[in-house]
């Protein structure tokens, strides 16, 4: 089996997902080659062929041009599988490439069991085994699902490629996340509010518990999107990544994007009315309760210790 891996770089840095793709190729038991839009300064430690397109020429975000570059490599390599990260880069580009190839796209693969891709359904409550009916398949892999056992090593055999033409989308620059405010990364104890808090007034319950424990409070994305809590307190892929001694998730279901930001915490407590909530997968203790009753009661007990 031949697998083409679509690595990623941004602002002069190779993104970590690139190595997860190598681990994925190993799990598939395939022979791989790699494609990257980047510069000579971001080459991955990889023993294999690397098709390198110069980012100075074709831009970091230029889906029309990146698509064409990948299709050129596909024509040369004729891979059975083209693998992307299930990332902002991958999920944007993968369907464009899949459509042009007439290939099935299997999204957010979390595992390969006997050669069959497994994907999550319904916020990871369920899983599906998927079979492609097409000769070639495009796959995106979930962040963190595949990891290399050993430190990546090797020097790629680089072949430079170039694109012609321009894209229809004009990239005008990055906007960095606003800095300042709390640094959740430093907190030893974090209590986070999820959509289960129900209304903005209830965020104070979470903040009170955090205070009683001598920690900080955080939040899941919907709570931040609703502007009940400021963005620098958001935990997850598009917020902060934290690993405190204690993480208490209140009314948080445990979506993969949230888990990615907190699953390395030393001890995890979840408070949730739903006993089957996926947060239970990573929690050391799952308290099945209405947080509106449990959280204030816990705060009071701790204050009286």
């Amino acid at each position: 089996m031949k697998i083409l891996l679509i690595a990623e770089s941004r602002e002069g840095t190779l993104l970590g997902g690139s190595y997860e793709l190598i681990a994925f190729a190993e799990a598939m038991g395939g022979e791989s080659s790699m494609f990257l839009v980047g510069g000579d300064d971001v080459l991955p430690a990889y023993q294999g062929k690397l098709y390198l397109a110069d980012v100075a020429g074709c831009g970091e975000y230029n889906p029309d041009v990146h698509k064409q570059l990948i299709l050129d490599v596909v024509a040369k390599e004729n891979p059975d599988v083209v693998a992307f990260c299930h990332s902002s880069y991958g999920w944007d580009l993968a369907p464009r490439v899949a459509f042009a190839m007439g290939a099935a796209q299997i999204s957010e693969v979390v595992d390969i069991v006997d050669g069959v891709p497994v994907v999550p359904v319904c916020n990871a409550k369920l899983r599906r085994d998927v079979k492609a009916n097409t000769a070639q398949t495009v796959i995106t892999i979930q962040a963190g699902a595949f990891g290399l056992e050993d430190e990546p090593a090797g020097t790629p055999d680089v072949e430079k490629i170039a694109a012609e033409g321009e894209g229809k989308i004009e990239f005008t620059g990055y906007e960095q996340a606003e800095a300042g405010g709390v640094d959740l990364g430093k907190a030893q104890i974090i209590v986070s509010a999820g959509r289960g808090v129900g209304k903005p007034e209830n965020v104070s319950m979470i903040a009170d518990l955090a205070k009683a424990l001598g920690g900080e409070y955080g939040a899941s994305r919907p709570v931040v999107d609703s502007e009940w809590v400021e963005h620098n307190r958001q935990v997850g892929t598009t917020g902060q990544t934290v690993a405190p001694k204690l993480y208490v998730a209140c009314g948080i279901s445990g979506a993969i994007q949230h888990l990615a930001g907190m699953k390395k915490s030393e001890f995890i407590v979840a408070v949730n009315t739903d006993k089957d909530a996926p947060i239970g997968e990573v929690a050391d203790v799952l308290v099945v309760a209405d947080l509106k009753q449990f959280v204030p009661a816990l705060t009071e007990k701790i204050q009286s210790l």
């Binding site: 975000y61 902002s88 999920w91 944007d92 369907p95 464009r96 899949a98 459509f99 290939a103 099935a104 796209q105 299997i106 999204s107 957010e108 999550p120 359904v121 319904c122 916020n123 409550k125 369920l126 899983r127 599906r128 998927v130 079979k131 492609a132 009916n133 097409t134 995106t140 229809k168 004009e170 005008t172 620059g173 990055y174 906007e175 030893q188 424990l213 001598g214 994305r221 999107d225 609703s226 958001q234 892929t237 917020g239 001694k245 995890i268 006993k275 909530a277 239970g280 997968e281 929690a283 050391d284 203790v285 799952l286 308290v287 099945v288 009753q293 449990f294 009661a297 816990l298 210790l305």
Partner: protein, 257 residues
């Protein structure tokens, strides 16, 4: 201006799921249904765009059986002008390339200036349909949009990347936009608007008229993930559980040290 917004009806994710008799999808009875969260942002953005440019017509499209009309009525009450239901009792079994082909076939020749979709559905989560629709129709597309503005045929949008970074873009219509959480604040339909929505046009087209492609992939099996050992589950009276939890934290962590 002609605007299309594509929505999907999905189960509430807090539902208790069961695998159906066929073993390839979840059981669809006993579930509460709602509009896919990502699509709510699409409906809101479509309506805001209409309010901005004034002279516009917003069609909301949904593929599914009779029960999706409920969700479509919500979109109409939020301000869409007309509904296009693609009648398909087996829409759940269609894979993204088929869903995209159905939408593209519907949209073909109708000259939509902007098509909004959610970036993904909450149940299948493939994150493909919007971009595939654009590829089929030869339109530009921008995914994972968290900020959108329109002026005179030009869209300025911000795509959300990892770690809270955004990529800023400029692109001309016609365009497909896939909407990410937080793009706007979806409005609640008001009672008068709910009443008005009842009189809005809702046309149904059989899926057979629009679907012309084979499935490129199949679900072989659906199942619950194995519980990985997992942690302790506390259930019962709140007072007891607070005591139990404090004891566990004292034993297993240093937070009270």
């Amino acid at each position: 201006m002609k605007i299309l917004v594509c929505i999907k009806q999905v189960p509430d994710m807090e539902s208790k799921f069961k695998v159906d008799a066929g073993g390839t999808w979840y059981e669809k009875t006993d579930l509460a249904w709602r509009m896919n969260e990502y699509d709510e942002y699409g409906v809101e953005q479509a309506v805001q765009l209409k309010e901005q440019v004034k002279d516009a017509d917003v069609t909301v499209l949904c593929i599914g059986g009779d029960q999706v009309k409920e969700t479509m009525k919500k979109a109409l009450a939020m301000g869409c002008d007309r509904g296009a239901q693609i009648v398909d009792d087996e829409s759940y079994a269609k894979e993204p390339a088929q869903i995209a082909a159905i939408i593209a076939e519907y949209a073909k020749g109708k000259d939509f200036d902007v098509i909004f979709t959610g970036m993904q559905s909450q149940d299948r989560g493939s994150a493909q349909v919007g971009i595939l629709v654009a590829e089929i129709l030869g339109m530009s597309s921008v995914s994972t949009v968290v900020e959108f503005s329109y002026s005179d045929g030009t869209v300025e949008a911000k795509r959300e990347l990892e770690g809270g970074v955004k990529a800023c873009l400029k692109v001309q219509t016609p365009l497909v936009v896939t909407c990410q959480l937080g793009l706007n604040t979806p409005r609640y339909p008001t009672l008068p608007n709910i009443m008005k929505a009842k009189r809005k046009e809702l046309l149904s087209t059989p899926v057979g008229d629009l679907l012309k492609v084979e499935a490129r992939q199949e679900t072989m099996r659906m199942y619950f993930p194995e519980k990985k050992g997992g942690g302790l589950i506390l259930e019962g009276e709140v007072v007891d559980m607070t005591d139990q939890l404090i004891k566990i934290l004292k034993d297993k962590t240093t937070v009270f040290a």
